[in-house]
Symmetry: C2
Subunit: 343 residues, 2 copies
């Protein structure tokens, strides 16, 4: 049991009865040494619990076996969930994930990339802020480090992009809403940070046109990532001023819908798909809290797992091939309708 502290690999090799290069070989790939040798090392490992100095290791390896993960906002459950999924997969793939949240701030996003640069990661998985992101910085970063973007696409950047198929998912929910009641009015932020917002609006317009309805859009004013607050405040206003043209509202995302539902409740406007209800509300993303809104929110679930897995696979693929690709491949996953009480 843990006899004494082992200073370095030299000492540990001696304790194992082996030479340092052999032990080094083992740590880089346990399968590359003879079985009897491996057993010797693992036996010693149990007694002395030695771990190679990561700083010395990374100084000499070309690739550091660390992967950066950058998300715009850790407090947003979508990103904390997806980060968690990616982290786990990284570890299973033999990499060391390191997580950065940008707090919705472009300056912090740039800082995060600078910090990552210093860490010389093998690759980076990044969900950019979107419209607010400093494109030149990200471009320069992508040129130096293999980077896969997810969730928010930035035109022509990154080795690959993985996201959700807004056209499909919005089309699907618009169709559902039209089929079961009034055609939806679209509720979105006027100047959303996330580029998915624009795609969703266009998908809404397209779906409405296809179904023969006039698209109607209500814009919420306000900036930043306090999206529920904006949905609430602007929802109150829209309800007071009767801005919603129909009794059905499709929100650009669940966080906006959460705010709107709070506003409707406060106004005494009953929301739901039943006869007596005055209004239907739907969202997009299947936010973890969508099950606990009043009423429970009908929405579209994104495939977290698939997005995480595809992002990582694409990145590891690029890292393995050790060549930078000129084109950015794009993968989009379909959403799944989640029917609850609100619409």
């Amino acid at each position: 049991m843990r006899d004494h502290r082992v200073r370095n690999m030299e000492e540990f090799a001696a304790l194992s009865g082996l030479s340092r290069p052999t032990v080094s070989k083992y740590f880089n790939d346990p399968g590359s040494v003879r079985r009897s040798t491996r057993e010797k090392i693992e036996q010693a490992l149990e007694r002395y619990d030695f771990r190679p100095n990561i700083y010395a290791v990374n100084q000499n390896r070309r690739s550091t076996k660390t992967l950066g993960i950058v998300v715009p906002f850790l407090a947003d459950p979508f990103f904390s969930e997806i980060a968690r999924t990616i982290e786990r997969m990284c570890i299973d793939a033999g990499f060391r994930p390191i997580l950065f949240g940008s707090h919705g701030d472009a300056g912090v996003e740039v800082e995060n990339l600078e910090n990552l640069r210093v860490l010389k990661p093998a690759g980076v998985l990044m969900a950019p802020l979107g419209r607010l992101s400093d494109r030149p910085t990200i471009e320069a970063f992508c040129a130096d480090v293999p980077t896969v973007l997810f969730d928010s696409r930035i035109e022509d950047l990154g080795e690959a992009f993985v996201g959700s198929n807004n056209e499909q998912s919005i089309g699907m929910i618009v169709e559902y809403l039209c089929r079961t009641g009034d055609a939806p009015t679209f509720f979105e932020m006027r100047t959303p940070a996330n580029p998915n917002a624009g795609k969703r609006r266009r998908a809404y317009e397209k779906a409405m046109a296809r179904l023969g309805f006039e698209p109607r859009i209500v814009h919420a004013e306000g900036q930043g990532w306090e999206i529920e607050e904006i949905g609430y405040r602007e929802g109150l206003r829209a309800l007071s001023d009767r801005l919603f043209a129909t009794d059905t509202v499709l929100c650009s995302n669940d966080r906006l819908a959460i705010g709107l539902l709070a506003a409707a409740y406060e106004k005494g406007v009953e929301v739901g798909r039943h006869e007596r209800c005055a209004m239907r509300v739907a969202g997009h993303d299947d936010h973890p809290y969508a099950r606990f809104t009043c009423p429970q929110l009908t929405t579209v679930a994104q495939d977290y797992e698939a997005i995480a897995e595809m992002s990582l696979t694409s990145l590891l693929d690029r890292i393995d091939r050790e060549e930078r690709s000129q084109t950015t491949s794009i993968t989009l996953f379909d959403g799944r309708l989640v029917m609850r009480e609100s619409a």
Copy 2:
């Protein structure tokens, strides 16, 4: 502008017209070199943007200027918020924060500590899982690395503990509820992961006794961090079976309250402090979503900033003094009553 890549400090020193040791001195403390020297370096820095290799640096320094932050669950807004606050403060203090979330899993928490050990951080700020945490592992870690615990206390561990004063905050809200209506029934998980839960229950009992009421407790069955789900499911059951002895319910935390409010809504039980309402519900923590529940949740706000700042200050203090303290100092911050519609 960015003429060419600078390989190392030797080369950069030559480009600055200085010797490497002097440049090294500058990077460790810009104030330690003559002003004219500093200007030379900063001028060169603008042209060549060199940054010392962090791996080579950390191999030789005793302390690594990185600070670990470990939280039990990044998807929980309380922790993502407090992590963000601490991160910012770390950077301002000249340290490099590195964030780990344990996903509510004791195994991951242990992994996080192991990974941190490898990184040889100057210190660690940790909110443990609580009851689920593997005490021996954390104890061994605290013995090796200066660690300050926050939020969840583990008896006799860490250089310091910073948390909230549950006795004060629960006492305050119990008093408020008793003054304005029925005395509250306490709603909590039977086997909560977080040790604050136990403190809150005892504080509730104490406050009720002080005010001359019989304490009444309803237990929610269920394990893990899906607290809203448990609150919802068990809330439904409690409402169906009329388990709440009074018309006022004080939840052990906001996440449980969010679930209970969803259950009440579904049951058609009107919640609020107005005449016509059948029930009052209060929470604890001032969760970011407490403003968007239906109705908005009356709760107790914890002082994020104060907890973050105090934790970091305590840690930096211990790091500076370069000595391990025998006693763990305890700091608790008072909560602030946040009155909204639900109670």
